[in-house]
């Protein structure tokens, strides 16, 4: 199988869906000739023209609102939000409008749109360009949330998102745009709500999202060398969440760490940990641990920024403690 970058994978997914369905179009800042600052959309305007790859002014609430209205009336907009941090600007249109329209209309109106944006720190981009804010939207009923962890997922999840009749927010890891992974030439879709067991193991389960999947795979390597067998699971979408797959693994290994790059408090890790606690409690040999980004705004200086995100060493260290029983009474 060929290897392509995450950026190319997203580009292909959009191109294929736009060829398949004329109602799909992209709108956002510098998406056309510039192909976005990350160059993810390069070449699309050449194929689809400026009627379908639409450059907007720097008006996030405005073009988000326009996308909601367009989606309600027969098109399938893909909103390009340059940085995940700008989600704060579109919150009203996304959460008060898009998320609730289907419900409030008693199922009569649909909002089939996709917001594609990103997450991830350690790019030295400081506090307003480094946040991982997926928990904010996952909290709002009516929004689906996908977190691709490689080029393969990025393509398959994007295609599913575009065909979904609900508003979907996809967060890509901006540090992964140039990372290559095997991606089939032939068409495929990845269904929402189906977790992927990246690596099987028997001693401990590492549930990891997006950027943290790589981190947990590296942690699993470290642990394997010490004779600890770690299972790594990527939920791929957090709404809907493949609870069964996570519970199954938890019951099997009896120890779980949930690792996600959003702030640890009130985040994805807490949600998943408590579901495991509620539904697999009697199978557990240790408290479920959460590892998220430190609860501080992301600092600019590399000397501090690197301290704020979970690392493979830190995950391995916690795993060791859980496996040795050290943390059973510590949590």
């Amino acid at each position: 199988m060929r290897n392509i970058t995450l950026s190319q994978a997203v580009n292909e997914a959009l191109a294929e869906e736009m060829r398949r369905d004329e109602t799909v179009f992209i709108l956002g800042e510098d998406v056309a000739e510039a192909g976005t600052p990350f160059k993810v959309l390069s070449g699309l305007v050449e194929e689809f023209g400026t009627d379908r790859v639409i450059d907007t002014p720097i008006s996030e609430p405005g073009f988000m609102g326009i996308a909601v209205g367009a989606a309600m009336t027969g098109t399938r907009p893909v909103v390009d939000l340059m940085f995940g941090d700008f989600i704060f600007l579109i919150m009203d249109q996304l959460c008060n409008q898009a998320a609730k329209t289907h419900y409030m209309s008693g199922g009569k109106l649909n909002v089939p749109l996709v917001v594609r944006t990103n997450l991830g720190a350690t790019r030295r981009s400081a506090a307003q360009h480094s946040q991982s804010l997926h928990a904010l939207v996952a909290h709002i009923p009516g929004l689906k949330v996908a977190l691709p962890s490689s080029a393969y997922e990025a393509k398959g999840l994007m295609k599913t998102a575009i065909r979904d009749n609900n508003p979907v927010v996809i967060f890509e890891d901006k540090l992964m745009y140039n990372d290559k992974a095997p991606v089939p030439e032939e068409e495929y879709l990845i269904p929402f709500g189906v977790a992927n067991i990246k690596r099987e193991g028997s001693d401990i389960t590492l549930i990891a999202t997006s950027s943290m999947v790589q981190v947990c795979e590296a942690a699993a390597d470290i642990l394997a060398a010490e004779g600890i067998s770690a299972e790594v699971i990527d939920p791929r979408t957090i709404v809907p969440l493949d609870e069964e797959a996570l519970l199954k693994s938890a019951r099997k290994t009896s120890r779980v760490i949930v690792v996600d790059e959003g702030h640890q408090s009130y985040g994805i890790t807490g949600e998943i940990a408590s579901r495991i606690n509620e539904k697999a409690f009697y199978h557990l040999d240790a408290p479920v641990l959460r590892m998220g980004a430190m609860d501080v705004p992301v600092p600019f200086t590399p000397a501090l920024e690197d301290l704020t995100v979970p690392t493979a060493d830190a995950v391995a260290a916690n795993a060791r403690k859980l496996v040795s029983g050290e943390m059973i009474h510590a949590a």
Binding site: E29, I58, D85, F86, R124, S125, M294, D295, L307
Partner: protein, 333 residues
């Protein structure tokens, strides 16, 4: 409250010149730091727009506040900041203005009234207007200047803030730096109609000025600042200017959105520093030798500050959870 300084003597003109050269020199060094991979992250150069920041900030005192943008080094220098603390901030060092926590896009200098750069386009519209509200509320006569780009005029917040500023007659000056582009897009493709008409719709007095002419900018700013102090604000200025570098330091191949000829024309025929320098010499306010001496001095200052910053310490890891809250030393302790 100290009244705004009068710009009628040679000393003031030479200070304006020096400040513009300082900005250019700061940016040349910052660009080099980026290109030699000594600076973390990326940054946006102010080169070419010096007359805007200097013309306006020279009409202000330390008590007057400004809000700045992602392209903020120029505002910071013009408002009185020191090279050493600025370079330390760009390199993420402890002695930086923000102890390395903010970096280029969030540089702030509380001591000179710079409330900070902002990485959210248009994000400081409310902040500057709020600073003006404080001034009025507390019965002070200081003013606030909100710097922002042409691209930021697309943000709805601007209209909400301007409406309130006009209703409440706040001492705020909206300074729109129209450099013809927002990122890789021409202004006419993202802004329908006239920019100053946007302010005029709220009954705000609005002016357009050549942003490459520091004397014109300063004369206008001086007048509007004086009037804003007397409660005649708000005001709006559109400053026609140009950025010499790419949108950010990594934006090297940019011919697909703007031509080399256009760049050359602005640099060769409208450069604010060259223009002002010729004027100073023609008017007999400075000799070529004096000008060269200023240039050399600034260059040396900048080189020393860079050297200092490169060797300065990073903040201690224990700082990571400091400053999350004002009254808590370590938020996660």
């Amino acid at each position: 409250m100290s009244p705004a300084k009068k710009k009628t003597n040679t000393e003031d003109y030479l200070r304006m010149y020096r400040q513009m050269v300082r900005i250019r020199s700061f940016e040349d060094n910052a660009n080099q730091l980026y290109l030699s991979a000594k600076m973390p992250g990326l940054t946006h150069m102010y080169s070419g727009e010096e007359a805007v920041a200097v013309g306006i900030c020279e009409a202000l005192t330390d008590n007057d506040r400004i809000t700045s943008t992602h392209r903020g080094h120029g505002h910071c220098v013009a408002k009185g900041a020191e090279f050493k603390e600025m370079f330390c901030e760009l390199l993420g060092k402890e002695e930086g203005y923000c102890r390395g926590k903010g970096g280029s896009m969030h540089i702030a200098d509380q001591s000179h009234g710079n409330l900070g750069a902002n990485a959210i386009v248009g994000g400081s519209m409310g902040i500057a207007t709020g600073a003006a509200l404080t001034s009025k509320y507390l019965g002070r006569d200081d003013v606030a200047v909100c710097f922002f780009g042409d691209g930021a005029t697309a943000q709805g917040l601007m209209y909400e803030a301007m409406n309130m500023a006009a209703l409440w007659k706040l001492p705020v000056i909206y300074a729109c730096e129209n450099n013809g582009y927002s990122e890789y897009t021409k202004t006419e493709e993202i802004a329908a109609g006239s920019i100053i008409a946007r302010a005029q719709a709220f009954g705000i007095e609005a002016h357009q000025v050549d942003g490459q002419d520091v004397l014109a900018v300063n004369a206008l700013a001086q007048r509007l600042v004086d009037r804003a102090r007397k409660g005649e604000g708000p005001f709006f200025i559109e400053l026609m200017t140009y950025r010499y570098h790419g949108h950010h330091v990594g934006d090297i191949n940019r011919e697909y959105y703007r031509s080399k000829e256009e760049e050359r024309d602005w640099k060769e025929n409208r450069d604010p520093i060259i223009r002002f320098r010729s004027w100073l010499v023609e008017e007999g306010l400075a000799s070529e030798a004096e000008i060269e001496a200023i240039n050399a001095e600034v260059k040396k200052d900048a080189a020393e500050a860079v050297e200092y910053a490169l060797n300065a310490k990073y903040p201690d890891p224990s700082e990571v959870d400091m400053h999350v809250f004002t009254d808590v030393k370590h938020a996660l302790a």
